[in-house]
């Protein structure tokens, strides 16, 4: 006996197997991301006051690049539209147009990941520094005339490491001044000022990475997990666009189903970002 309803819909449920499967899978995914968002909320509301030095608040705000995030949102939404158009093109029996839309979708996915890694890079070289006199400053640092790079973990600096490498002074390209809500002040006191800081004056320094603050831990965990979903989705959709597309000849109905199922996953990935962007970037 063959397994029934692999691509034909079962009459009483109106669904084929894979569609039931993907919806169940997405339900599970909602619980996964839901747990992470809940963790974010719990950590944020219970964060001790004065924990983040830059702002007088407990939780860092305004540290992420909103224009870039907005642009990335647009990229992802575009890909969500094109994946629907790809599926609709197949429904209208236009394979060439399907492939064009699918390629755009996959390109958008990789554009998203590229922009994301640019943002990551920025965070890895961005430091918060607490001085011995209690003052704090944030900005990009330069050690021996070099900016730290995120793909090189040995480029991560701490006070102890600076001391062992006998570095006496580092340069800090100061961030613009912020108000209590984390918004950049229109006329801050030190716009683009580069300050030299003696290592002996530094009590603590840490890059914008998970070890420095739970905010970054949450940010990197959720966005990296989301990024993995984008990558996985892009690979599967890319497979459908090229090597997997030969099924269009042998079993078009099942092929269209596959695109639909892949598209459902892609919309979910998009939807996670739609929640992620305001929660992590804007609020």
């Amino acid at each position: 006996m063959e397994i029934p309803y692999t691509y034909k819909a079962r009459p009483d449920t109106g669904l084929y197997n894979a569609k039931v499967g993907i919806w169940l899978f997405l339900a599970s995914e909602i619980m996964l991301f839901g747990a992470l968002f809940s963790a974010y909320i719990l950590l944020r509301v219970s964060a001790p006051v004065g924990f983040w030095p830059d702002v007088g608040l407990a939780w860092p705000r305004g540290l992420l690049n909103i224009p870039i995030g907005t642009f990335n949102t647009a990229v992802l939404i575009t890909s969500s539209v094109t994946v629907v158009l790809a599926w609709a093109s197949l429904k209208m029996n236009n394979f060439a147009r399907f492939r064009v839309y699918m390629v755009i979708t996959v390109l958008c996915a990789f554009a998203f990941l590229g922009i994301k890694s640019f943002e990551y890079n920025d965070k890895f070289s961005h430091y918060v520094i607490r001085l011995q006199d209690g003052k704090a400053l944030t900005g990009h640092i330069e050690v021996d005339g070099k900016h730290p790079r995120f793909w090189n973990f040995s480029d991560q600096w701490s006070v102890a490491k600076l001391a062992t490498q006998k570095v006496t002074k580092i340069k800090v390209e100061m961030d613009p001044e912020r108000d209590m809500n984390g918004h950049v002040k229109a006329h801050g006191s030190h716009d683009h000022e580069v300050r030299e800081v003696a290592v002996s004056d530094i009590a603590f320094m840490g890059s914008y990475t998970p070890a420095t603050h739970p905010f970054f831990a949450v940010y990197f965990l959720i966005t990296a997990l989301h990024g993995l979903h984008v990558l996985g989705g892009a690979l599967v959709l890319g497979y459908f666009a090229f090597p997997g597309a030969k099924m269009w000849k042998s079993n078009p109905e099942q092929f269209i189903n596959r695109i639909e199922v892949g598209g459902l996953f892609w919309h979910f990935v998009d939807l996670v970002w739609i929640f992620l962007f305001p929660v992590v970037y804007l609020l």
Binding site: M1, E2, I3, P4, Y5, T6, Y7, R10, T13, L15, Y16, N17, A18, V20, G21, L24, F25, A27, S28, E29, M31, L32, F33, G34, A35, L36, A39, L42, L43, S46, A47, P48, F51, G206, T209, P210, A211, T212, H213, P214, F216, A217, V218, F220, L221, L225, N251, Q254
Partner: protein
């Protein structure tokens, strides 16, 4: 085409032939099989081996509790040889090794033995047969699910051999205890534990999607929802529990992995001091967050451990009382209520964390509510016995003793569900007694009942009845001797977390030393319990080759669809398309030609 076995189709031109394939090789037949029956057996054999391993860990721990600080006889030198001088010096189980065995006993029993044997083995083998399906909806996912499970098991076992030994923070892995790692040894037992869990969660995700999709989509003609055997209902609800409850633990596991590997502070508060030195972390995290995420899985997981057991017991009992099941529909609605309610009771594991009284009251109320549907199911099974002509064979004896044993487990849970009494009992042996009554004489008896019951379908041969009854009588006696004394110890306030069997605890507080002597009784009863499994092991293997041949495809004269397949069922299961003409438990129908009316028989 999504074929069940890609190798089966040598010529793609002829799509009408499903069975004309040559004999697959060893690897494609036993290792990379996509047949739900082979995967079920793979799950069953692996899970039973893990079960034995978990049991042996427990024996070593019980020896240490009964004879604190003494070298373990027989096993001691082996431990010293395998795990090394610094871990098990002189064959003595020290505090660290005890903790490591405790954590791994729990993890192995819950995630690698009981759930796989219930859901993976029985679920895989029986569910598609009972709903009249040729296979699972996604056979290749099914295979992937088993492989992820097996790999997870390998990672867990491998963790024993990492420097520093396996995870030591209990099967619950509470942070900060589990997050305080040696920075020079990042890939320690805890990291292995987390990676193993991610694999196991992946496995259960693939499995649960597959089960639910199969039950929704692949029911044969006539198999309406209310004609499904109760076992299938139990698997269906279990599938949803696994699907929705496991991801939060995966999220928590990823966070703990970040804490341990990248120095983040998801679960580490500010100002944490370990052995006198402040911990070099940013802080700002919450240890309670881990507990919430863990128990959000943990409590549905308890029902994952018991619902399929209800299903198996229902099948065995309904067959052996030769009368219709009492209250089938109320059992179905009960199992659905349990599924829903199990998601909102988790914090009753956390009364000791100092939650507010209002929150405690909420969880106490939901906990009491969830006992109602459990009692309905048990009551329906008890009432079903009334007036039945009960056949006493090994399967039904195990199933029948499940009822009172689970009853004890369930009823002793009520004081733990109440906030006020739980605060006294929570850290005591009472909890161990309660939980093990649910899972050991409860779930395990259902597993044994299922093995004796479905063995003739799987192998074509019966298991030996005499050995089976010996196994049953011994297990029942010794299970109670092992777990009942724990209630006494718990009431006397003996802590459940001490590696020396409570010696220091009672010594310091002047407790009743008589309670400590019970440790001896428990140890020897556990040995007895182990000896009673020998008839089972002999029976299991010898019956595969030498057991009495099953006289027909339906030796128990059962009604459900799995008995209308050939024995053992071939690839694709049914010879003709099965049709369900009636409900699952139509025994002794007035006017019928025999005392059972199979679902698949038209007349």
């Amino acid at each position: 085409m999504q074929s069940t076995a890609p190798h089966a189709h040598t010529s793609a031109t002829d799509s009408s032939h499903g069975h004309a394939h040559h004999e697959p090789g060893f690897f494609s037949k036993y290792i990379f099989s996509t047949d739900h029956k082979v995967i079920g057996i793979q799950y069953g054999v692996s899970a039973l081996l893990f079960l034995l391993f978990g049991f042996l860990l427990m024996l070593v721990m019980r020896y240490q509790l009964a004879n604190p600080g003494k070298a373990v006889p027989l096993v001691g030198p082996l431990l010293e040889y395998v795990l090394g001088q610094d871990v098990a010096k002189g064959g003595v189980v020290g505090g660290d090794l005890y903790n490591s065995f405790g954590a791994m006993h729990g993890t192995i029993m819950v995630f690698l033995a009981i759930v796989p044997v219930l859901f993976g083995a029985f679920g895989n083998y029986v569910t598609p047969l009972q709903i009249g399906a040729p296979d699972m909806a996604f056979p290749r996912l099914n295979m992937a699910s088993f492989h992820a499970y097996f790999l997870g098991g390998v990672v867990m076992i491998a963790s024993f051999f990492t420097p520093g030994g396996s995870a030591r923070s209990g099967w619950t892995s509470y942070s900060p205890l589990a997050s305080i790692t040696d920075p020079t040894n990042l890939f320690d037992g805890q990291t292995y534990w987390l990676m193993g869990m991610v694999l196991l969660i992946t496995s259960s995700l693939l499995g649960s999607v597959n089960f639910i999709a199969t039950i929704i989509q692949l029911r044969c003609r006539g198999m309406s929802w209310m004609r499904m055997p109760f076992f299938v209902w139990a698997q269906f609800v279990t599938g949803f529990l696994l699907l929705l409850a496991f991801p939060p633990l995966e999220a928590a596991g990823l966070m703990q992995l970040m804490d341990n590997l990248f120095g983040s502070s998801f679960f580490l508060p500010q100002g944490l001091v370990v052995s006198g030195t402040p911990l070099q972390v940013s802080g700002g995290g919450s240890p309670l967050l881990w507990q919430h995420l863990f128990w959000f899985l943990g409590h549905p997981e308890v029902y994952v451990l018991i619902l399929p057991a209800f299903g198996i017991v229902t099948e065995v009992i309904s067959n052996n009382i030769r009368k219709p099941l009492w209250g089938y529909k109320s059992m179905v609605y009960s199992v659905m209520s349990i599924g829903f309610l199990s998601f909102i009771v988790w914090a009753h594991h956390m009364y000791l964390t100092g939650m507010g009284t209002k929150v405690a009251t909420f969880f106490q109320t939901t906990t009491m509510m969830i006992s109602i549907p459990s009692v309905i199911i048990l009551t329906a099974l008890f009432i079903s016995l009334w007036g039945g002509s009960i056949r006493f064979n090994s399967a039904s004896l195990f199933a029948l003793s499940f009822l009172p044993m689970f009853g004890i487990g369930g009823l002793t849970g009520l004081p733990l569900g109440f906030n006020a009494s739980d605060i006294f009992l929570h850290d005591s042996y009472y909890v161990i007694g309660h939980f093990h009554y649910v899972v050991a004489p409860g779930t395990m008896f259902a597993v044994f009942a299922g093995i004796y019951y479905w063995f003739p379908k799987i192998t074509g041969r019966h298991m030996n009845e005499l050995l089976g009854k010996l196994h049953w009588a011994g297990s029942l006696f010794f299970m109670n001797c092992v777990f009942a004394p724990m209630f006494i110890q718990g009431f006397k306030g003996m802590s459940r977390r001490m590696s020396d069997g409570g010696t220091t605890y009672f010594g310091g507080l002047g407790g009743d030393p008589g309670v400590l002597k019970l440790n001896n009784m428990i140890f020897w009863s556990a040995i007895g319990l182990g000896i009673c499994q020998i008839p089972f092991i002999i029976n299991f293997f010898s019956s595969i080759f030498m057991g009495k041949r099953a006289t027909s495809d339906n030796p128990w004269q059962a009604t459900t669809l799995e008995w209308s397949t050939p024995t053992p069922p071939p690839h694709g299961n049914f010879l003709q398309e099965p049709v369900a003409y009636r409900g699952p438990y139509e025994y002794s129908v007035p006017g019928a030609k025999s005392d059972f009316s199979p679902q698949g028989d038209k007349n």
